[in-house]
């Protein structure tokens, strides 16, 4: 039994949500529309249990037998000449950790959504898309080669599109979905080019051959060292698109048009971290491209800073969280980029990036879900200026949000503290030596600044929402109700996770040591705790919270003053440093102009040509058409004519026989 499980648990993980999806799509529309969430929750529970089993038993079992990963071939997809692409599931330590995170967060979000989405006319559609998403995400993580990864990379993008545009009758939602899809295309283009290049260079796309054989990489490295830069930069472009990094971060804040559970699951916890996963997965390549890693760190820092600045002044609660997500993803990329500083640092850089991704998934999910709960209570109003003082009215939401906010801000001993602190530590280590010490010192400075701002804007949102005088918008009715049990349960679990999971897995090195089993990760020295950075980040977190308390609770007048004095800077922050505007003005508008020229050409030149061609049969037709005038006798006359012709032909033939 255990043997069977060890071998087959891996395909159970994606199969369960796929079955749920098929059930909902085929049957759920008709039977039990109200209970469309049940197959998904059941499937995700199976999936979660399976990934836990994989994490705790199957994979260690495989590692004992000195296999690097659990592998389950499904079938041969493409087998043409030298091209050979099997559909194979492959789980190593990194995948197992990621799967556990994905399935656990999805399970909780699904339970939350079953109550949150109640009464929506598209209830089954929502859960069908969500099952498809979880399936695609699991397959993305379990993919054993780049091509399969790309397929499901696109699939999660599609699900994201479907779910952002879930309320497609809202023009803003439809536009946001389109925007997310189009912006993602840019990144995907880079990714597929990178995959082509890998294919051309190595002749294979299998992870196991690519990452588990340093000999091959070293061979290529000796022959053409610059090729790794190209591969890595192209792969990174893919990651930039999916993980909403500068300059492609514009789609993520707009993606908040989707239902809140979607924002929590896809646009905070799972899909957007796929880029981080991709870069971490390709660490064996990236270590040979130090300049690309510096680019990664630079882009990450720029993104983190820009997003944090923008988040400072937003009034839309979900947008604050969205910008915060972008900022935290920037953190992860900063950490990944720090691998470029030295050979030994790469392992820790990747570990801490993945660890931050892990903790971030929980506390950002709880933040988003709490924001969803606020929305639920406030009658779908999300503008923080229209409500305040919800502390009394929504106690559960208040506490869960507070837990998430504390974790995000990096208050000592909570999960955000551990992961963020480790990123700061690895950056500090990178800036201590090596030829690019100055560069990494700048990055560290930005990271610290961002950390301060993170604490500030998180608690700004918290204080604006839950403190101050009690105020409800009209849409809420008189007595806003707190989260029902189906929403409160997941919130509480996630809040506990947000508070404790960092402490449980961070300082004990549970996560790190497990991740180190991933094949292909370079060796690293022991990384000591950086007490200095811990101290600084704690101080920054407390300072940020204190500043927010001062400005938004004690004396709100200062904010108004500041707004007036620094109106230019305020406006810039409010509008996201005009990056969106810039994109529309200088990229979208010229393209639109070009498109209109093409349209003109199509309409007046090509259409005219086609019409000309179409005119010829019409001309012939109009010549013959009068025959078809509906008079039976006309038709009979034609028949007679045909008879005459036939007879005369026969006659001529007979005359010929004489």
């Amino acid at each position: 039994m255990t043997n069977w499980l060890n071998e087959n648990v891996i395909w159970l993980i994606p199969a369960a949500p796929l079955l749920a999806c098929l059930w909902i799509v085929l049957v759920g529309q008709v039977i039990g529309r109200k209970y469309a969430h049940r197959p998904l929750v059941l499937g995700l529970a199976v999936s979660f249990a399976a990934s836990l089993y994989l994490l705790a038993i199957a994979l260690p079992h495989a590692l004992e037998d000195s296999h690097h990963a659990v592998i389950a071939p499904i079938y041969q997809w493409i087998n043409v000449g030298t091209i050979n692409v099997p559909v194979t599931l492959r789980a190593d330590a990194m995948s197992a950790l990621m799967l556990t995170m994905v399935t656990s967060v999805s399970l909780l979000v699904a339970i939350f959504a079953s109550s949150y989405m109640k009464g929506d006319p598209g209830y089954p559609r929502f859960f069908a898309a969500m099952s498809l998403f979880v399936f695609s995400m699991c397959m993305l993580v379990l993919a054993s080669n780049f091509l399969l990864l790309f397929v499901f990379w696109e699939a999660v993008g599609l699900c994201s599109y479907l779910l952002i545009g879930f309320w497609f009758h809202k023009p803003s939602a439809a536009a946001a979905a389109k925007k997310a899809f189009v912006v993602n295309r840019i990144g995907d283009f880079g990714l597929i080019l990178g995959i082509f290049l890998i294919w051309q260079t190595f002749g294979t796309l299998e992870f196991s051959t690519l990452f588990e054989s340093p000999k091959m990489i070293n061979g290529i490295l000796a022959a053409q060292p610059e090729i790794f830069h190209w591969i890595c930069i192209l792969l990174f472009i893919g990651a930039v698109g999916k993980s909403a990094q500068f300059p492609l971060q514009v789609w993520l804040p707009d993606a908040m048009e989707g239902p809140t559970p979607v924002s929590a699951l896809i646009h905070a916890a799972t899909m957007v971290t796929a880029g981080v996963y991709l870069v971490a997965r390709c660490t064996p390549f990236f270590v040979h491209a130090p300049y690309v890693q510096m680019t990664v760190a630079g882009i990450g820092a720029a993104t983190a800073l820009i997003a944090a600045i923008t988040a400072l002044t937003q009034y839309d609660l979900k947008r604050v969280l969205a910008y915060s997500t972008v900022s935290q993803l920037g953190y992860m990329f900063m950490s990944l980029g720090a691998a470029g500083a030295g050979e030994g640092l790469a392992l820790h850089a990747v570990t801490f990036a993945m660890f931050h991704m892990f903790t971030h998934a929980f506390f950002k999910a709880v933040l988003f879900l709490s924001a969803g709960s606020v929305m639920h209570a406030m009658g779908d109003v999300i503008d923080m200026r229209r409500f305040s003082g919800l502390r009394k009215a929504l106690p559960i939401t208040h506490y869960t949000f507070l837990a998430g906010a504390l974790a995000l801000a990096g208050v000592p001993l909570l999960s955000g503290f551990w992961s963020k602190d480790e990123i700061l530590a690895v950056l500090a280590a990178a800036s201590r030596g090596g030829e690019h010490a100055g560069f990494y010192a700048t990055i560290l400075g930005i990271a610290l600044l961002t950390s301060l701002m993170t604490a500030f804007y998180t608690f700004r949102a918290y204080f604006m929402t839950f403190w101050g005088e009690e105020k409800f918008p009209e849409e809420a009715g008189h007595h806003p109700h707190d989260a029902p049990p189906a929403m409160a349960g997941p919130l509480a679990i996630l809040a506990v996770a947000a508070l404790g999971i960092g402490l449980l897995t961070g300082p004990t090195h549970l996560y790190g040591h497990y991740l180190h089993h991933t094949p292909g990760l370079p060796e690293g020295y022991d990384f000591p705790m950086d007490w200095l950075m811990m101290g600084i980040s704690s101080i920054l977190a407390i300072a940020g919270i204190g500043a927010a308390y001062l400005l938004y609770v004690v004396s709100p007048g200062i904010v108004q003053n500041l707004q007036r004095r620094l109106s230019l800077a305020y406006q810039a922050s409010q509008n996201g440093l005009y990056i969106d505007w810039f994109g529309y003005k200088f990229i979208a508008a010229p393209l639109r102009g070009f498109a209109s020229i093409c349209e003109f050409f199509d309409r007046w030149v090509i259409d005219t040509l086609v019409d000309c061609v179409g005119f010829i049969p019409a001309l012939f037709g109009s010549m013959i058409r009068p025959v078809q005038n509906g008079m039976v006798q006309n038709y009979a006359a034609v028949m007679t004519l045909g008879l005459v012709v036939c007879l005369i032909t026969v006659l001529r033939a007979l005359a010929g026989t004489h």
């Binding site: 019409a618 037709g621 078809q628 005038n629 509906g630 009979a636 007679t640």
Partner: protein, 146 residues
């Protein structure tokens, strides 16, 4: 020029057949059109019996009996059709039934005859064919769900 008995019979049959064709093509009265068709059948029947005698076996006569049967069927059906057509337009004029043609063509009205004005009967709800090669007129569909 001489002809055998068979040939003379065939000539008569052919003549009757052709006269039937001419009548079918020229007359505008629905009933006369049907009568002309019967005339053609007579021509064919003469041929069949002539051959029957020429070959000296009853096959031709048997065929004639079948022709007779079908002619009876045809007459019955044609008359009931003509009756119901007559009810709609109160006329036996075949020009009033040119709706099988393309919609945008003028109603055919012969060479010398003055154009026939078709008065549309509002009670008549006949199916309308879409003119070939045209987009069918679609009802403005229900608004998409907003």
């Amino acid at each position: 020029m001489t002809a055998t008995v068979l040939e003379s019979q065939l000539i008569v049959g052919a003549t009757l057949f052709i006269l039937g064709v001419i009548g079918f093509l020229t007359r505008r009265n629905l009933i006369l059109i049907m009568l002309s068709a019967e005339l053609m059948l007579h021509g064919v029947s003469i041929n069949l019996t002539a051959f029957s005698r020429y070959h000296g076996n009853p096959q031709g006569q048997v065929f004639t009996i079948f022709v007779l049967t079908i002619a009876a069927c045809e007459a019955g059906l044609a008359l009931s059709l003509i009756l119901s057509l007559y009810q709609r337009r109160k006329s036996l004029d075949v020009f009033l039934w040119g709706k099988l043609g393309e919609d945008d063509l003028p109603v055919f009205s012969g060479s010398q005859a003055p154009p026939v004005t078709v008065t549309a009967d509002p009670n008549v709800d006949l199916p309308h064919l879409t003119p070939a090669g045209r987009m069918p007129k679609t009802q403005p569909g229900p608004q998409t769900k907003t």
